[in-house]
Subunit: 398 residues, 2 copies
């Protein structure tokens, strides 16, 4: 009897350990990809006549093998928690996995998978009041095109008629678009949860597309992908965030966005939404290239912004720091800077390298007040940036 | 000299005739697929090691050939104007084209292409006041799950504080979701243009997901796809719209949606938005399976709705019509029906067959007032449904 019980317990243990749960980002009813308790992922693909099929995720390639049911499959090594883009390679064609929802990243409609994080609560839907995410169209005189952004309005915005709210302008990264923060980033759930807990002030969040070109300017961000006549979107690592004043990066792109933001976007938002006026009610942040854009726009226009956040991207973090010339000399007078900027936030994933931490320490040494935030165990991916927002938003508009 | 001019004119003529314009739905900077003036489409795919590559669009397969640059290409015959889903087949794998944006249809993230229509103006962004599309999350007690819908609010909604608006509930089709009307359908642009022209009353439009299952119920809509262990989404034609009272179709699915809509969705909308009360301010419409859902929900609840629209889907259109039993007997008393229902709208694409026209004529013969609308030259696709909305919306709330 005792050995039977032990056998039952062992069997049960094995079956629990081997349970593979469908990714939350699968298309409805799809059982694969699925995730084991130890964060290995099983992918399965139907490609009956292919010679070679593989999956690329987290910087690694995993060859798939064809089973007796004609289905190709591969199980990865344990993955880092959070959201990952990934690609299938079918006889040399780089395509999205038809079993998952797609997310605009790397310049195309990429596959996405979510490895459940231990702290996933903070970006989960809970029984709290929910805000809205609006699609806002507007015509940009600077780019001579129709554009759109998404706008988070906090719970209570619609019911109230007089309350005015401060605004955070929040940017995606290279190869992404204005859908990134609300689809990959879960911006509304993070804010709903923070506001319900009394941890963040109710605010409006504007998510625009950082690609802005005037007629005749080329879109450097996508040209960087090396697009071929028949575009097969290879996942290219994000380019190094440009450093201002050092002749690197797509400087004109940064300045066109700045001009568009000040001329078209901010006036559209302030005309359309109930916005509290002035720089002390205006923040800007972004991830990766969006962090570089934030520092480019923000440091040159401190008359417009009192809060700046760089999530895995800013104006520093590589090479030496010279307060007189780095970041366009924005930190040359620390006391003046500290009077103007109420929060300067630098966030990073712990496995992204020490550049951001070094930059923060160099700023601190020069007397520039700043907040350094490190997401444990994550890389240049969306869980880092969700956590950055979760830490950054409560510091705003105090 | 004269022959040189003729040569130049000829060359120019050839190059104009051969100009291939990128589809508006391509990813940024992608030149392919592109569309010739005669609506043939050129597809190009990078699949260097594949043995066989083809593209399937509009019910036809086009084999691709590999060029000297190692890129596979195919040019279709002239396509019908409007939006089409399409798939690539790479050595048996059915995948989305990495060069285009994807659209949820057929149960997965499908490729989309837009062949410019001569009447595209009505769903194009113009210099008119623009409404918003909101993401609305809510918890459904009936399904015991968080759900979301999108809500169009007309221009002026945010600026006004007292005006109440009538509401149209608008559903997608089989294998699509709540994003369909605002992404494939351009609902906001159609309404912005109609309202600016004074042709439609300002109204709120609620776009929910017609999939609603209680715990334990299976999602018949996706099961219909014949999903395999490694889902390779084959584009399955939409199932026949169920006919009420004849034992066909996923009847329980229809009734769960109805229960969810009346218990959870409508109260959420009426609590959250400034909604004019009562059935005469409430309309319901949908396309294909969403039209079937509309007639199922609406005809059983005429105390809730005064306007009903079926776009390529309703409760009739196949087989004979018997007013006593067809559509659950909803038309058994035409005079009573006419007093209650202010507009009964039946729309269809002209190449979808005569079923809907026959149904409309049978209703008319019985004395049931109805509007029949036919989209010229289009099939069971989104241009039909955009045109249906454009004809239907001006008839509402008069």
């Amino acid at each position: 009897m005792r050995s039977l019980l032990i056998l039952a317990a062992l069997t049960c243990g094995v079956s629990l350990a081997q349970e593979c749960k469908p990714s939350a980002l699968n298309i409805p009813e799809a059982k694969y990809p699925c995730i084991y308790a130890d964060n290995r992922v099983l992918f399965r693909v139907n490609a009956p006549d292919a010679q070679k099929v593989s999956v690329r995720i987290g910087g690694q390639d995993f060859d798939m093998t064809k089973g007796p049911d004609n289905i190709w499959s591969a199980t990865t090594t344990p993955l880092v928690v959070g959201f990952h883009y990934y690609t299938l390679h079918v006889d040399g064609a780089i395509v999205a996995d038809p079993s998952t929802m797609t997310f605009f990243g790397g310049g195309w409609e990429n596959s996405g998978i979510e490895v459940p994080a231990p702290d996933a609560e903070f970006y989960s839907a809970k029984d709290v009041p929910h805000g809205h995410v609006d699609q806002q169209r507007y015509f940009s005189k600077v780019t001579d095109k129709w554009r759109r952004c998404f706008v988070y309005t906090p719970p209570g915005y619609q019911a109230s008629t007089k309350t005015k709210y401060p605004v955070l302008y929040l940017l995606h990264g290279w190869g992404e678009d204005e859908t990134g923060w609300y689809r990959q980033g879960h911006v509304d759930l993070i804010m709903d949860n923070l506001i319900a807990a009394g941890k963040a002030k109710p605010m409006i969040i504007v998510m625009d597309n950082l690609n802005a070109t005037k007629p005749g300017e080329s879109a450097t961000i996508f040209a960087a992908r090396g697009m071929v006549p028949a575009p097969a979107p290879a996942p290219v690592p994000p380019p190094a965030p440009p450093q201002m004043g050092r002749g690197r990066g797509p400087a004109f792109q940064l300045s066109t966005f700045t001009e568009m933001m000040l001329t078209d976007l901010i006036p559209t938002i302030e005309r359309t939404y109930r916005v509290a006026p002035g720089r002390e009610n205006r923040a800007m942040a972004g991830l990766s290239m969006g962090g570089a854009q934030t520092f480019s726009t923000g440091l040159q226009h401190l008359e417009e912004f009192a809060y700046l956040g760089g999530f895995s991207g800013s104006c520093g973090g590589r090479g030496g720091f010279d307060p007189k010339v780095s970041c366009g000399g924005a930190f040359a007078d620390p006391a003046a800077f500290n009077r103007k900027v109420k929060v300067l936030f630098l966030g990073i994933g712990s496995v992204e390298g020490p550049g951001t931490k070094n930059f923060s320490e160099a700023l601190t040494k020069e007397g520039v007040h700043n907040v350094y935030f490190e997401s444990p165990g994550t890389a240049h991916e969306w869980l880092t940036w969700r956590r950055c927002l979760y830490d950054f938003a409560p510091r705003l508009f105090r």
